[in-house]
């Protein structure tokens, strides 16, 4: 009996199509919350893809400490995206991502709408897909982000499409007046999928000192407590566009991933949970496969529908 079940489990695939790229499982890491180092702690063969930390054109040092801390709201980070530039990335990091054996999605950042294309030109077709991070809340303290302006998003994506044949995922910012407009702009620009979303901008104050808890004052909030905020954004985006939506924010379990499926996501990214539970990514990927098996389907939408019916 148990051998049969195991055979079915191994055979099950939960494929997701992102443009020309097929992922065998809908679970992947969130940018900046994953490194090839994690492969030393156990196999990652079951996850759908890896996603790299955002690569910028220029070398960057990142923010001053404290760069990360935790409060009752979750994890605060103001790492500030240190980067060794596309060349540094290709030489040192990329080969280590490749070794993991699943598709590599490279995250790319820029400070002008034309900037993404420049980075992509330097990266060539090294990656299987690119994720455009239009929404990093940490780098500039004031200033409206590219990700808050649908016109800028569409322009950035359209220019990036010219620079590469690889599918593009646009990772949106959560703090915008109309995320539906931002998603439509990404789709119109030629994106193959959107990811919703980056961390939630915050200014945590340390009550002991009454000073900002982060060296950079402003940071991003992540972890399970932001899930209801991001679920709404995923729902709004999935109403607005036809391309796949990748849900990202506070996923710690297969059940959390299904919440995102229930509001329209096709795939998910796991960030902060990988810090508390370094095997979280692999576990969630495997648990979703098991759940699909148990419900006799290869569609997570169908799993959700069955769960909804069973509690009616």
């Amino acid at each position: 009996m148990s051998t049969t079940v195991r055979a079915v489990t191994t055979a099950t695939r939960l494929p997701v199509q992102i443009g020309s790229l097929r992922l065998e499982n809908p679970v992947m890491p969130a940018s900046g919350c994953f490194g090839p180092e994690l492969a030393r702690l156990g196999s990652l063969a079951g996850i759908g893809a890896t996603v790299t930390k955002t690569v910028f054109l220029d070398e960057r040092g990142g923010n001053s400490p404290n760069r990360i801390t935790e409060g009752p709201s979750g994890m605060f980070n103001s790492v500030g995206i240190p980067s060794t530039g596309p060349r540094g990335y290709l030489e040192t990091l990329h080969p280590r991502y490749r070794e993991i054996g699943v598709p590599v999605i490279t995250s790319v950042g820029a400070h002008t709408t034309a900037g993404y294309a420049h980075v992509l030109e330097m990266l060539g077709d090294a990656a299987d897909a690119y994720e455009l991070n239009v929404s990093c809340p940490n780098l500039d303290k004031h200033g409206v982000e590219i990700g808050a302006d649908p016109v800028a998003i569409e322009e950035a994506v359209a220019l990036a499409c010219v620079a590469t044949d690889r599918p593009l995922i646009v990772k949106l910012s959560p703090l915008v007046s109309s995320i539906g407009d931002c998603a439509r702009a990404a789709q119109n620009g030629g994106a193959a999928a959107v990811c919703v979303s980056n961390s939630v901008p915050v200014l945590p104050v340390d009550p002991r000192s009454m000073n900002p808890a982060l060296g950079n004052m402003i940071g991003g909030l992540s972890g399970p407590r932001i899930r209801p905020i991001i679920l709404r954004l995923v729902w709004l985006v999935s109403q607005a566009i036809q391309i796949p939506v990748i849900g990202c924010g506070g996923i710690e379990s297969a059940s959390d991933a299904l919440e995102y499926i229930s509001v329209g996501a096709s795939a998910v990214q796991v960030g902060t949970a990988g810090f508390s539970h370094p095997r979280a990514l692999a576990r969630i990927a495997a648990d979703l496969v098991r759940l699909a098996d148990e419900h006799g389907t290869t569609s997570l939408r169908e799993v959700v529908a069955q769960l909804q019916r069973s509690t009616k």
Binding site: G32, C33, E37, G42, G62, P65, N66, R67, M75, G215
Partner: protein, 278 residues
């Protein structure tokens, strides 16, 4: 605000990267978990692999139920014969407070992590300077020194005698230990300096390891110059991954490229007087 307290006129340099044991993600049985007084707690965990492979000065990341970030904790003692490691932690904030109240029978952890203290085979006579829970960073050095038949001397410093850590360990490992406290007005750098100079005389130790106090680190550098002994310091920084990929633990740096990562380039660094600021 930062917990990273590199002494002002001293610089840290990464030690050469040597071979390191592979870290493991483990669910470790809680073997012992008890208060030691002054807010300190002993936590003995069963993790055979970490106990068997950890190098002196390495640390683990301990996941506290209900918290998103694991807490970095030095491996205070390794007991490979029964597969356990011992941590000692101080209640510092919400996470350690919750850990102290927790009745969890197992805890998730990752380790061993970080670059260890470097002990050349020639080094047999080391001075360990530690304050508060900083002592936990180097008791594994004393273990290795004892194993090779050398002699470790330690200054165990704390605010009060109730907060002193490592006395039992020092006895067990044959460490010559000086305990100093603010309470007894014996913990200021001048007194500590006099004590160890008296103890060692002209022939100083062949290595100095320090953790837990900026003032002790400055003293360590001075003593290192006096005796031409290399100084190593174990630093703290807020951490998320402990593995080197999150970039959360970088030391402050000027310029465009990133500073050292405390988890991967440290936590143990060489400590020297800054040539520029003299």
């Amino acid at each position: 605000m930062s917990v990273i307290e590199v002494p002002a006129r001293e610089v840290v340099r990464p030690l050469p990267a040597g071979p390191q044991p592979d870290p493991v993600a483990d669910i470790a049985r809680v073997v012992r978990h008890e208060p030691l007084g002054a807010g300190n707690h002993r936590l003995v965990l069963h993790s055979a692999r970490i106990a068997a492979t950890a190098l002196p000065g390495q640390f683990v990341m301990v996941t506290i139920p209900g918290f998103v970030l694991p807490r970095p904790m030095a491996i205070h003692r390794r007991r490979p014969h029964d597969g356990t490691i011992e941590l000692i932690y101080k209640v510092a904030g919400a996470g350690t407070e919750s850990l102290a109240l927790s009745a969890a029978t197992s805890l998730e952890l990752v380790g061993p992590l970080g670059r260890p203290f470097q002990l050349s085979s020639a080094q047999k006579n080391v001075l360990l300077l530690g304050r508060g829970i900083g002592v936990c960073a180097f008791m594994t050095v004393a273990e290795d020194i004892a194993a090779r038949g050398g002699q470790a001397t330690a200054v165990l410093s704390a605010r009060s005698s109730a907060g002193l850590i490592g006395i039992d360990d020092a006895v067990e490992l044959g460490v010559t230990a000086f305990t100093v406290t603010d309470e007894a007005a014996s913990s200021d750098t001048a007194s500590v300096g006099r004590t160890v100079i008296d103890h060692f005389g002209a022939d100083g130790p062949d290595g100095i390891m320090v953790c837990g106090s900026q003032r002790l680190a400055r003293l360590a550098v001075e003593l290192g110059r006096r005796w031409s002994a290399p100084v190593q310091v174990s630093l703290e920084a807020h951490m998320a991954c402990g593995l080197g990929y999150c970039h959360g633990c970088a030391l402050p740096c000027d310029g465009d490229s990133e500073g050292l990562l405390v988890c991967a380039d440290g936590p143990v660094f060489a400590l020297e007087r800054d040539g520029r600021s003299q």
